[in-house]
Amino acid sequence: MQEAMIKRAKELLADGSVKRVIGWKRGEFAYDITPAVFESAEELDKDFVFDDFTSANVSKYLVKESKKEGKVLVFLKPCDTYSLNQLTKEHRVDRDNIYVIGIPGGPKLDIEKIKAKGITGILSVKNDNYTLKIDTLYGEETMPFSEAILDKCASCKSKKHVTYDELIGEDGDVLDSDRFDMVEKLENMTAQERYDFWREQLSKCIRCNACRNVCPACTCEKCVFDNPNSGVENKAASDSFEENMFHIIRAFHVAGRCTDCGECSRVCPQNIPLHLLNRKFIKDINSLYGEYQAGADTTSRAPLTDYTADDCEASIVHERGAE
């Protein structure tokens, strides 16, 4: 796959169809892969990588890259194409200036899950027929591939590319995922249990803004949390209220726009399951206003900028589920 991608990228660079290529660059170790822009065949040959760790969603870089002179080639996994569609819909990217090659999606690996097994000093990770062979400073370790899958891949919603100019490999289908299970589990808890759960999680927040900055839906020119005139700006949560508020407002601002790409949870240095907040909104929207998948298209009206005269009342929140 990696070879095919490099080959095609080189062709498109060579014939002038594109000026730049957005992909992933190999790092110091097996897993520390950085999204990167490649401008020449040499750079591609040297550093371009596509493997089990290339999980980063690179679509957000298009906000900037698509506005530069000349067309940009981007390799998008199925989940990433939803993000691009959403960005296109909101006029945040210039789709005409982007050449999308759809590539197969995950499941990708989560190095944290490997490390959580106590495996350290990792020198290389090889996938040998769905058993990971991990060479470390302390000898070789093995673990099943399935136990090291990124959470966002484990509950993959779709293998379908919703936008692309060409495909390498085959297109898949929208999947019947179990992504709302944890949301439902929380919904079934008591309010006190939910409160305790979220307090434990959100009190870990160090307000590094990684979730916001990686989020393809968070592309505001100036975020309200960075704007001293917004009334909610702050750099660190001084009180549990501010921990809650940041995440409530952020989830609300992306409600109906979040494609559930899962990057927020992937990048959270404190392992807060932030995607659950977004999924809660998605689940509510689906059940209250009809199935809606942000980024599935570029024209539909987002649930929060739409309404029907017979929408349910807000009191539905009081009427359902456990207290």
């Binding site: 790092g27 110091e28 170790f29 897993y31 520390d32 892969i33 950085t34 999204p35 990167a36 822009v37 980063a56 870089y61 190095i111 944290e112 490390k115 959580a116 106590g118 350290t120 000093g121 990792i122 020198l123 470390t136 400073l137 302390y138 434990e200 160090i206 307000r207 590094c208 803004n209 990684a210 916001r212 900055n213 990686v214 960075d226 001293p228 702050n234 750099k235 660190a236 949560a237 001084s238 990057e263 992937r266 990048v267 240095p269 404190q270 392992n271």
Partner: protein
């Protein structure tokens, strides 16, 4: 050297906690290790290091400085400084121990930061030597010997016993306070462990990373390097690296209007943020390239320039594992050192 059996750690912690607040690295529910207040039953983590550094103990993320109370048109100023209680941080790794030396250079040089000093004076740092370094470790680059940790007192484990030694008076006072639990022990096995650790340290992937190309006199060479554009192009501008970093010491001072008064507090800031050091005219570093460059230039050039060659990094590797896009100081150093 004095020692205590590892099986008696609980006893040791109880004895320390009896006299002052004790913090140890332990595992939280999500598996990550963090420094928490010790209470009976709480065990030392098996992880190499905590997710966040130990700098919070001396330089917390937010800290109330002064209050202004308003009654109608009258304003009253309330100083929030108070004497901190004594505490012990146990199990600080050699890299984090060095970070306090670096923070001291910032906060304890004139004008002395009284909030920091207050905490520093009342805190005893008990370090723990490493025996199982990770691939992301590169403390050696900054002259830190992971087998000979700094701190007020230092500990080693040989698998059976915990050895302890004072590095200064404060450390000695600490050891004296628990001396009834300690006994003299043989370090032969410990020396083997140390030797093995040294051997592993020499085989680390980043063992050969060098600071030779950096330092206070390399400003012009690096500041204008063309490589910054490529290095910073995928930086998200988040503050993860800054906030997990044990040496990052920048803060902002802000006012919070409670409705009944103003709470003036300081909180960590990150040079990666667009509103960092914002002044009346705006932000001096307007592009992410400049902000990205600032962070690494500070650690590798400006800091040593102002601090007798001491670098602003301890090689703990936290930013290596936590950066959302895996860009970090190692990649920056390796890119810049190539002429």
């Amino acid at each position: 050297m004095l020692k205590i059996s590892l099986s008696r750690l609980e006893e040791l912690f109880a004895a320390i906690a009896e006299k002052q607040t004790l913090y140890i690295p332990s595992d939280r529910a999500d598996g990550a290790a963090e420094f928490t207040k010790w209470e009976p039953g709480k065990a030392l983590t098996q992880k190499l290091n905590t997710l966040r550094s130990a700098k919070d103990f001396f330089f917390p993320q937010t800290e109330n400085i002064v209050d202004f109370k308003m009654e109608g048109k009258n304003i009253q100023v309330i100083d929030q400084r108070s004497e901190h209680e004594d505490f012990v941080i146990f199990g600080v790794r050699p890299c984090d121990a060095r970070s306090f030396t670096i923070l001291d250079k910032v906060f304890l040089s004139e004008p002395v930061d009284s909030f920091y000093k207050n905490r520093r004076d009342h805190g005893t740092v008990v370090t723990m030597a490493c025996s199982r370094p990770a691939e992301t470790c590169f403390c050696g680059t900054f002259g830190i010997d992971a087998t000979e940790p700094e701190g007020d007192a230092a500990c080693w484990s040989d698998g059976e016993d915990l050895f302890i030694k004072a590095n200064n008076d404060k450390g000695q006072a600490f050891i004296d306070s628990i001396s009834s639990l300690l006994e003299e022990g043989d370090t032969a096995k410990l020396d083997q462990v140390k030797a093995k650790t040294k051997e592993i340290l020499s085989r680390l992937p980043l063992a050969n990373l060098s600071t030779a190309a950096f330092g206070g006199d390399t400003l012009n060479e690096h500041f204008n390097s063309e490589k910054w554009a490529e290095l910073s192009e995928s930086c998200l501008g988040c503050g993860t690296c800054t906030f997990v970093c044990p040496t990052c010491q920048c803060y902002d001072i802000k006012d919070f209007n409670t409705g009944n008064g103003i709470k003036r507090f300081r909180c960590w800031d990150s040079c990666m943020y667009s509103d960092f050091t914002k002044m009346a005219h705006g932000n001096p570093r307007t592009s992410q390239l400049e902000r990205f460059r600032q962070r690494f230039m500070h650690k590798l050039v400006y800091f040593p320039a102002n601090n007798n060659g001491e670098f602003g990094c301890v090689g703990c590797g936290r930013c290596l594992s936590k950066c959302p896009i895996s860009m970090n100081i190692v990649k920056v150093m390796k890119a810049l050192e190539v002429k």
